[in-house]
Amino acid sequence: MKHISRIYTALVMVFLYAPIAVMVVYSFNASRSTSVFGGFSLKWYAELLNDSSTIEALENTLVLAVLSSLVATVLGTLSAVGIFSMKKKWAKTAAMTVTNIPMMNPDIVTGISLMLLFVFVGQMVGSKNSLGFGTMLIAHITFNLPYVILSVLPKLRQTDHHLAEAAQDLGCTPFMAFFKVILPSIMPGVFSGLMMAFTLSLDDFVISYFTTGPDFQTLPIKIFSMTKRRVTPDMYALSTLIFLSVLLLLILSNVAQARSEKRREGAKA
């Protein structure tokens, strides 16, 4: 029995990680072939760095991910606080439903509807080419928002609701009480919302594809357009780099989480 479960686990691991391993290996392939490994080489990485359009797309992706996740985190945290303090139950339920729909909605529907809206509004204000960085930023903030709200809300529920009152009792205005007491105690939720928004924005393709214009390309869009012609090994190199950055991000956030848990456990002892 023990052997079977081990083999099973190993198989799961293989299916999950073999593709990535193959990709990483081939990103170091000296030859162009996808079937023969022609020796170790960094030439695809060099080529990647020399390709200015790819580097620009990378920059665009990062700027977009940072900006959209930050804005979504600020807006999402405020919305979560607002939803949390709603007194009427039906209003709360309505707000939560409105929050959930964009998450359940297929990306393609969100993408097309956002595009339509942007083009429509663009025409109203008389702009010929309304799609671009601005529309894409709005789109990314839109689909990031629910994830931030959903990661902040549970933290608000865990927070002792007397904390804000205690702060006010000690001389804080309600506004100060939020920053001095509530925000620190919901910070883990805010942070994980930020991380989630950042990674979602980083790898979004479908919605980005519909809401961007010809002047603004992100990495996923660029890679997709390249695969239409032929897949070159420098894409393996790029994907490997992205994979490694995501891995690093994951490790960092896990370490941070483990630390805060350790602190809390130490506190209990």
């Binding site: 009152e165 205690a166 006010q168 000690l170």
Partner: protein, 373 residues
């Protein structure tokens, strides 16, 4: 007359969703007084406290501090501090920073903060705990931090919302003494909320008994115990036998089928009244000297004394005695005139004070029902 009332509530009514939580509360609290709001859960005592702190605004009525209305003053501008039921310490700050919180908000200079917090830690016996994480403290220590955090701001009035409810019995007794000492040495007015009648009697200068959003009685602990105004107060504070009686004339009353001399007067001739006799005020005597005769139906040994239930003409009395009795014994009872307290009839008449269904379990069940209502 000089106005020495530091806090005054005038006709305070609070309504939530059409339900009256507080009904025309009138209360005057003197400077440096230790006032306790006492009542079962849901009686409105915590709401009263929150009205004073500014977290609940009254639907009607005025709150006065030093004679000035503060109805529209937000909590952070009021000269009061609160100790919350579960302390509400800030989990992301250590002991020092929790206590320093109020001073930092007021932008007190750093050196001054350090000095005051150190003094405060000494006062609450927590010197050396400055850097300690809040979650690493015991319940009693957290309680002390909460006290220090509030009184470092030198409030004129300290509001305490069941501050000892989370502590075990031994610690609670110690903290009662400690709180009383702090109150005396700092000369701060304390408004203390509790459902524990013993705590209220032992700590307060004035006790305010509340039920169903209405003040039932205001008085010294002795007044409340010895001269309860109605059946609710008599039953809630200590144990009471409450009987249906008639006031024949001044100093003469009748209940349980015979007449008794008493010390009460000022009632109408033959007015129907409620009679309170405390279990410890009934003496067990030989049958020939007895005023009432009854049969013992239950005996509980409580260490200091026995608690026995005696059936007298169908009404079950609770009597505390140091003599051992057996179930089925015939006993004679003797009641001194000063042990009889006569009360006007109220809406609580007949609801309390009969021990015919007495058992801890049933009492507990009826408590639960009250909570739900």
């Amino acid at each position: 007359m000089t106005n020495e009332n530091i806090v005054e509530l005038k006709n305070i009514t609070v309504t939530f969703d059409g339900e009256k939580i507080l009904d025309r509360i009138n209360l005057a609290i003197k400077d440096k007084e230790f006032v306790t709001l006492l009542g079962p859960s849901g009686c409105g005592k915590t709401t009263t406290l929150r009205v004073i702190a500014g977290f609940v605004s009254p639907t009607e009525g005025d709150i006065l501090f030093d004679g000035k209305a503060v109805n529209h003053l937000p909590p952070h501008k009021r000269q009061v501090n609160t100790i919350f039921q579960r302390y509400a310490l800030f989990p992301h700050l250590n002991v020092f920073e929790n206590i320093a919180f109020g001073l930092r908000v007021k932008k007190v200079p750093e050196a001054e903060i350090k000095k005051q917090v150190t003094d405060m830690l000494k006062l609450v016996n927590l010197s050396g705990y400055e850097k300690r994480n809040i979650a690493k403290l015991s319940g009693g220590q957290q309680q002390r931090v909460a006290i220090a955090r509030a009184i470092i701001n030198r409030p004129k009035v300290l509001l305490l919302d069941e501050p000892l409810a989370a502590l075990d019995l031994k610690l609670r007794k110690d903290m009662q003494v400690e709180l009383k000492n702090i109150q005396k040495s700092l000369g701060i007015t304390f408004i203390f909320v509790t459902h524990d009648q013993e705590e209220a009697l032992s700590m307060s200068d004035t006790v305010v008994v509340m039920n169903e959003g209405v003040i039932q009685q205001i008085g010294t602990p002795q007044d409340i115990y010895n001269e309860p105004k109605n059946a609710f107060v008599a039953d809630f504070i200590g144990e009471s036998n409450i009987l249906d009686g008639v006031m024949k004339e001044d100093f003469l009353t009748s209940f349980s089928g015979r007449e008794f001399t008493c010390l009460d007067s000022g009632f109408a001739r033959n007015e129907r009244v409620d009679i309170v006799v405390r279990p410890e005020d009934v003496d067990i005597v030989p049958e020939k000297d007895a005023m009432l005769l009854g049969e013992v139906t239950s005996v509980t040994f409580l260490g200091v004394h026995y608690e026995i239930i005696v059936d007298i003409g169908g009404f079950k009395w609770m009597i505390q005695t140091t003599d051992e009795q057996k179930v089925g014994d015939k006993v004679g009872l003797y009641i001194e005139p000063d042990a009889i307290h006569v009360m006007k009839k109220s809406k609580y008449s007949g609801m309390y004070g009969d021990y015919s269904t007495f058992s801890d379990e049933i009492e507990h069940l009826s408590d639960l029902e009250e909570d739900e209502n």
